[in-house]
Symmetry: C2
Subunit: 329 residues, 2 copies
């Protein structure tokens, strides 16, 4: 039986987590799990790093693509490739959960396996369903997307564009802005480290914003509220600037929610799964296969590099959806 | 022809408006309007004071109940009592607006005329429609209402109670808290000047809040967010603490909108008029006539006292819906 290296969450950080201090690799050299009925043992191939979900003393959770190498569940025979909740580790015992899904085409797919935890996984569903359900986009409207080159933002922007909106994005480097403008097809984009979101929106959204796809929080939210039109919608997807700080930013202009009759709505993607997953998967896979959309992935190599990649992601150092390649198929 | 005293808005205040400085009475001793077709001249009986709507150099706007004393509009003959947009003044020339409504029963009504600008007027519709449309109340849930003895809050609480909710209110004096508990029938109420909203909600809402009827903003909103349950709804009706301040409060815990999947939605009552007015008026009038609900009005006497009453209202000195009695019927 192989050894199993897992990334274990050690303690809560007060600011950004530090690899080695807040989470670290631990190797179990005598990994010999005995499966219960319904369980499968997976060899993990690629996992998604997401800015949430941490329980102290446990391997961190992740959606991943994995190969079943031992099975007590007839739905997932040995050799099948599944999309499931695994851990930040090489091997995981996966219980019989309704969120596990077999990927029949995985061994022949022209799409990289990381697609199934990115553009065709939870981040993709988030972009698609939240835009439809909360954003209620209408052709001719303007959307502003923060963290626009990230896991959710880059797809949200391309869907909004396809649905007839003017799309404006912010990102944290000139390279990311170039990617948004040249490869992704945003109408406008700016580097929020070089100019204030407030000034940029004044110039780039002269007719105001109808939808704000919120991934950042804090000052960015405050600036967006100032530029929203009456009846605007804020898709509160994430507020990454506020996750790992002991000094959360105070948003001072919430009066505009009243005066402009805005809606701000939070959600988790599981809320949308039943209603939207099939449509999403069909529509976005079709766009991908026909090369109508692009989707950039930032792939760290090896489970031992997951903490560093995660810490970097919280600081915006990743470029595209952050995943970790754990093993080759 | 009579003289006409109006309250004119002179300049924007930086903090609270001061009678004489920011608005003042002006008397036109030669008031002799010539009506155009469709217009009526009204003798104003009672007007509503509301914490919004000010244009410099003009008499302030208000919903009011008024007697038609001259008419070029066959819909509103001389002698009819109407509910209309008038001014903070004794007499107003009212154009032919769709928001003008005749009150056929006014001369025989057992309800005070102020009812038509309060519990049966815009504040009442606000409570009824916003609670239904944004609050989506379900029996067994808990609602928290700030400014709970005010124009909107006291009715919202009684409707929520009638619909099976546990109702908690905050107000700014012990008298108001007594009124909420003894006369209005709130399940719990507290004086926010004597204890923090955070501590009070911890004790009084041990199962958390499902709906927050927001009239105050700032720290109160922040405390309410901390106590909201997953999928909670915030009815952003007003943020009176934030209207007249040069130092708006920064709300630091909007992350909870994401993590608890909250909805915060602003509105203006006109958004709801068409869909809800008839149901509202029938339901609430029935409750009132059958003495199933109470509704406290704070009545200033004489148009010249409107500025003082308005300034007091912004500081929470009113007790109940603030109106000005301009003249007897």
């Amino acid at each position: 039986m192989p050894s199993n290296t897992s990334i274990v969450y050690l303690k809560h950080p007060t600011e950004f987590p530090v690899p080695g201090e807040h989470f670290d690799a631990q190797t179990n050299k005598n990994f010999s799990p005995v499966l219960q009925d319904g369980e499968v043992l997976t060899r993990n191939l690629v996992i998604s790093l997401d800015p949430y979900a941490r329980q102290i003393g446990q391997p961190l959770d992740a959606r991943g693509v994995a190969e079943v190498i031992e099975s007590k569940n007839p739905k997932y025979p040995v050799g099948s490739i599944i999309h499931a909740f695994v851990g930040w580790e090489e091997y995981t015992v996966v219980p019989d959960l309704p969120t596990t899904r077999i990927i029949p085409e995985a061994r022949e797919s022209k799409l990289p396996l990381s697609s199934y935890v990115g553009v065709l996984g939870m981040p993709g569903l988030t972009a698609y369903a939240a835009l439809k359900d909360i954003g209620k986009p209408k052709a001719g409207e303007t959307i502003f997307i923060s963290a626009a080159s990230g896991a959710v933002g880059q797809l949200a922007g391309q869907l909004a564009k396809a649905w007839g909106l003017t799309v404006i994005g912010s990102a944290g480097s000139d390279d990311k802005v170039d990617y948004l403008l040249k490869d992704v097809g945003f109408d406008a984009a700016f580097n929020y480290k070089k100019r204030s979101t407030h000034d940029a929106l004044k110039e780039l959204a002269p007719k105001g914003i109808d939808i704000y796809f919120e991934n950042v929080g804090g000052e960015t939210l405050e600036a967006a509220l100032d530029h929203m039109n009456n009846h605007g919608r804020v898709i509160a997807c994430g507020m990454i600037s506020q996750y790992n700080t002991s000094k959360p930013y105070g948003v001072k202009n919430l009066m505009q929610v009243v005066s402009k009759r805005l809606t701000i709505r939070g959600f988790i993607v599981a809320d949308f799964h039943e209603q939207y997953f099939d449509d999403f998967f069909r529509d976005v896979k079709d766009l991908l296969v026909n090369k109508k959309i692009v989707y950039r992935v930032d792939e760290a190599k090896g489970i031992e590099n997951a903490p560093k990649a995660f810490a970097g992601m919280l600081k915006g150092e990743n470029f595209g959806k952050q995943v970790v390649k754990v093993a080759d198929l």
